[in-house]
């Protein structure tokens, strides 16, 4: 079972949580200044450190198309081959929940993912990085911490992302602005993962600082901040749907109908429909009134909603807007959505 096939906690708001730990090997130039021999040296060092672990090793430039598609489906890679140089290596575990990227933007990037809101990903990534640190000579200074090529990655080297869908907050005047300011207070950031993502209420909440705060501090700040955002979003959804139940019930049914039966679907249309579903489904989960459930002969789980959202966002983050607008792409996307919905039937 892949990592995104779990429902996860608070999955009505948080689609997935990711932690990334960056490390560089001492005595070797950083990626922008590396030569072939340096790349080979880093690969050999990491190979020896990873020996014996149950992870699949994939050499960049030698990954076949089937595997590439699977990596994209598992959100390990965003675009087909575009970011893979022949000097890079990917280690991935059985569920693609923990991946190690070698010679990408840094020598080593450990990435742990989980569906829903799960800050334990930070501990998993950090623990795995510690294991590598015990076997490798990692660049470190007492003044700046872990030294990396990107100055924004210098310090703890730990970054946490939570992908959230907050249509309730977005439909409130200045809602996004308020959340953005709240993020800044915690030294976190609110960012749209791709162009027009904000229109569909999709955002990344990500930790910004790696200096002036410890790894556990980043995690604790994230826990408080994201919890606040989840609570706020739920309140907004209940208020919006409760204020006009008939309209949002209709939008819910229409959105489901379009997702299920439309033969051509554009990414933003899908994400907007999913946002409408989220708003009324949250209301429905909290309502005891039988009238709210009448004439709705279908069920859609949070897991399915998140799997479709994740897949569409992956496509939008990786592909060019022009490719996404092609008729064939719209047709294929509609088919994919139907496949996901079949699971709930």
């Amino acid at each position: 079972m892949r990592w995104y096939e779990n429902e996860g906690i608070d999955s009505d708001v948080v689609i997935m949580t990711t932690a990334v730990v960056s490390r560089s090997i001492n005595g070797t130039p950083f990626v922008p200044k590396m030569k072939k021999t340096d790349f080979d040296h880093v690969k050999a060092e990491v190979d020896s450190a990873m020996k014996g672990l149950p992870m699949e090793r994939l050499e960049g430039g030698k990954i076949d198309l089937t595997k590439m598609e699977q990596l994209m489906r598992d959100r390990v890679l965003m675009t087909e081959g575009a970011e893979l140089s022949e000097n890079s290596v990917i280690y991935t575990d059985e569920k693609s929940a923990l991946n190690v990227f070698v010679n990408f933007s840094e020598h080593l990037t450990v990435e742990a993912r989980s569906a829903g809101f799960d800050l334990d990903v930070a501990d998993r990534a950090d623990k795995f990085a510690s294991m590598l640190e015990s076997k490798l000579d990692i660049s470190f200074s007492e003044k700046y911490g872990f030294l990396n090529s990107n100055l924004t990655d210098t310090g703890t080297g730990l970054r946490i992302f939570a992908m959230v869908n907050i249509p309730g907050i977005c439909r409130n005047e200045r809602g996004v602005e308020v959340v953005s300011k709240r993020c800044q207070q915690y030294d976190w950031k609110l960012a749209a993962p791709f162009k027009r993502a904000g229109a569909a209420g999709i955002f990344f909440i990500l930790s910004d600082a790696m200096l002036g705060v410890s790894g556990s501090g980043i995690k604790e700040n994230g826990r408080q901040l994201i919890r606040e955002i989840i609570d706020l979003e739920r309140k907004c959804r209940l208020e919006i749907a409760g204020g006009n139940t008939a309209m949002y019930k209709d939008l819910y049914a229409r959105a489901y109908g379009t997702l299920k039966y439309a033969t051509v679907q554009q990414p933003l249309e899908i994400l907007t429909n999913l946002s409408n579903i989220r708003i009324y489904k949250n209301y429905l989960d909290n309502s005891q009134d039988q009238e709210d459930r009448e004439d709705l002969p279908f069920e859609i789980s949070w897991k399915t909603i998140n799997m479709i959202t994740g897949e569409i966002c992956r496509e939008c983050m990786g592909d060019r807007p022009r490719n996404r607008a092609l008729p064939a792409a719209n047709k294929k996307r509609a088919k994919t959505v139907k496949e996901y919905l079949k699971g709930d039937d």
């Binding site: 950083f30 015990s134 002036g212």
Partner: protein, 213 residues
Amino acid sequence: MICSKCGGYVPENDLRIFNGSVMCANCFEEMCQGKIGKSMDDFFNLPLEKKAGMIFNMSNLDFGNSALTCPKCGTSLKEIETEKRVGCIECFNTFGNAISKILLKEQGSTEYLGRTPAKYDPEAKADIKTDEIKDILDPKVSAAAEEDKGSLTAEDKIEQIKNDFYEGKIADLPDEELKEALAAAVAAEDYILAAKIRDELNNRKEGGNDEVV
């Protein structure tokens, strides 16, 4: 800014620019008095367009520091300032002050509060066991979820096992759990589900023909 004549520090509100060079007020005055270089008359005698060009291009002036490069990887200060990336560890020594400024601007602090690498931390090193790493690679259900599972009623259990069937998760459940679910399904008289669980248990056995119920 640094004075191009005496090398002293020039505050931004007190700098003088002449022929593309930054000067402090003293050097500028001395130059005007003819002690250093040419007199200001040369500047005033230039055509108007040239004078205007010199004034408007002040932002493009090279103040000398950007020519500094890392002796090990050849990265220049200008590259670091524009790309926010360094080429090697030596860059941190060569451009220490500039990097501190960038870090302060980008991250709001230059103070490191994290842990030391596991290699230099005997406690952390002793803490890492191969089994634990294998656990990381195969994360178990969180403690909270385990607790929830424990407190499920018979009805919830049946509902959960039904969901597991539809989601194809049934293969992941241990035999003990399936047997418990089977008992619950029989008690609740849900014989369709009971038959499905029985078939799954039978399939797991060698040959798949042994009857459980």
